[in-house]
Symmetry: C2
Subunit: 355 residues, 2 copies
Amino acid sequence: MYPYRHLFDFTREIFLNIGCPLEDAQLATQVLLEADLRGVDSHGVARLSGYIRLWEAGRINPKPSISIVHETPSTATVDGDGGLGLVVAPRAMDIAMQKAENVGTGWVSVRNSNHFGIAGYHAMQALQRDMIGMAMTNASPLVAPTHSTKRMLGTNPIAVAVPANEQPPFVADFATASAANGKLEILQRKNEKAPLGWIQTAQGEDTDNADELKQGGSLLPLGSDLTHGSHKGYALGAIVDIFSAVLSGANYGPWVPPFVSFLAPPADPVGQGIGHFLGAMRIDAFRPADEFKQHMDNWITSFRKADVKRGEEAVLIPGDPERIMTAIRLRKGIPLLPPVEKDLAELGKKLGVKF
Amino acid sequence: MYPYRHLFDFTREIFLNIGCPLEDAQLATQVLLEADLRGVDSHGVARLSGYIRLWEAGRINPKPSISIVHETPSTATVDGDGGLGLVVAPRAMDIAMQKAENVGTGWVSVRNSNHFGIAGYHAMQALQRDMIGMAMTNASPLVAPTHSTKRMLGTNPIAVAVPANEQPPFVADFATASAANGKLEILQRKNEKAPLGWIQTAQGEDTDNADELKQGGSLLPLGSDLTHGSHKGYALGAIVDIFSAVLSGANYGPWVPPFVSFLAPPADPVGQGIGHFLGAMRIDAFRPADEFKQHMDNWITSFRKADVKRGEEAVLIPGDPERIMTAIRLRKGIPLLPPVEKDLAELGKKLGVKF
């Protein structure tokens, strides 16, 4: 178990070491480690060396000049200048929230960025300002559209955070595939089978072999097959791709550059970097915030109290499991798998930072 | 087969007959029949007598005074005054688009409305103005959240329409349940089994009996079960409910009034009527519209050409099947099932309109 503070200091030193300004290093660390706190282990410090390898390959700019390239009172298009998504996305969210202060809502499409950590972090920034926050991003292609054998979309997550009054906020944060890639990685590591409906082979046959992804297979959209609505998951992933990248001028669909440094980006890009879409809506742009939040409390408690199936404890509200995990990990520390520990120790050694 | 014009004239007469002003009767007819044209038979003229029975029960106001009760430059909250959703939603979408003209985007949450037909119609209004359109609505509870046995959410659809250049537009329009209720009604009528993963019994067991819904069972969220991401479908349905009703002051969750006149609305409402959420984003609030639409063409054609599984013809773009169906039905007419023909003939007789 690693205390949050320990991982924070290490990660910040690493980001400082590659040339990030102090403020950016702090911010990137906070965003990255939010994943570890919330139990989304695939998106946290386990990815740190991946970001650094992209920097080594010249594919991440540690000192980006993030700029608004186009705007209206309620919108902006932001160029991330090849920076860490962990830094670019929070700045873009700040712009969205400022616009929401001014005209009720703010919507920012971002190009020329990189992986932004967990979508939930960015959406949640709106909560303290009595706003609804939204965040989505495209990602390197792993998901095949309905009927297809080709990886055309990333797991393209959507996060929506809604404030409540006495109840904790509603925080949905989910991939638009039937299972996020992080879950596959865990099965691969443990050499376990995957449930049918998560993956297909390169020929498009349903499979329980988690390794098929490495052999040309693909993830399936939320819904898994046409009968169960995979065309809806495909449409959701497509909407995320269009809002994040076609609106902003980033790469989309099969052109999204891979997160890993050993795979080259497509030679014929259709835009710059990867794309995000961030939104903020001021609650009191629709109705008084206290009235809304009291109704959200009622919404949340009525769902929490709904009858459950035999063997289940309660209906969960989106964000419940992550909030509980955060409380535990802040108290007891964050567990890291041995390969992650080894990877971080090597990374520290290379950059002269003690792990 | 009924010519579109025939069904149009009949439906408009019916709406005029219950007291709708001419303009409203025209509009309601156009919205309602768009479902029949697009092949969403469950949401079209087959529902006409249902709307009329709600009017007879005093639950639909044929002459609503639709008003903005709160607004900012990019938002509005609209009170539908108990009118037909078929009329209220297009007016609200007009407000959203006007705000998008002014400040880049417009977002309207609607309370005190009724069923608004197909979500896609409303989202598509944005296309001719080079805007992205969005529409969602809550509906009477049929879907149980993950772990629950209780119907807490409607099939709460989401529609997103995105303009392209030479390609037809991208139009996604889908329920956030694994199967829309209309599909169940078809199986019930034909006395056929449902696929597992669509419905559960009153005790929360998976079932293939399409009639379980009438015996306390419920529809399952998109994803069907927890392993395949039903918590994501539940979260999506919840987001639609919150944006449509908690933001506007409509009824939400289990309090949403039923569409059918023989079931009374809840005695302890938490808001007024049902709720919708409509949005419009001007493309050129982000980047020049012609540039965007050329990239949408590229997005669409690259997906359409993606490799398919053996036996499949092509990857479909959201909106393809409905567009093809519209062309066929405008040419060949709209088929109606015998019970629908009978129902419409009786309705016409009652109101003195020849079917």
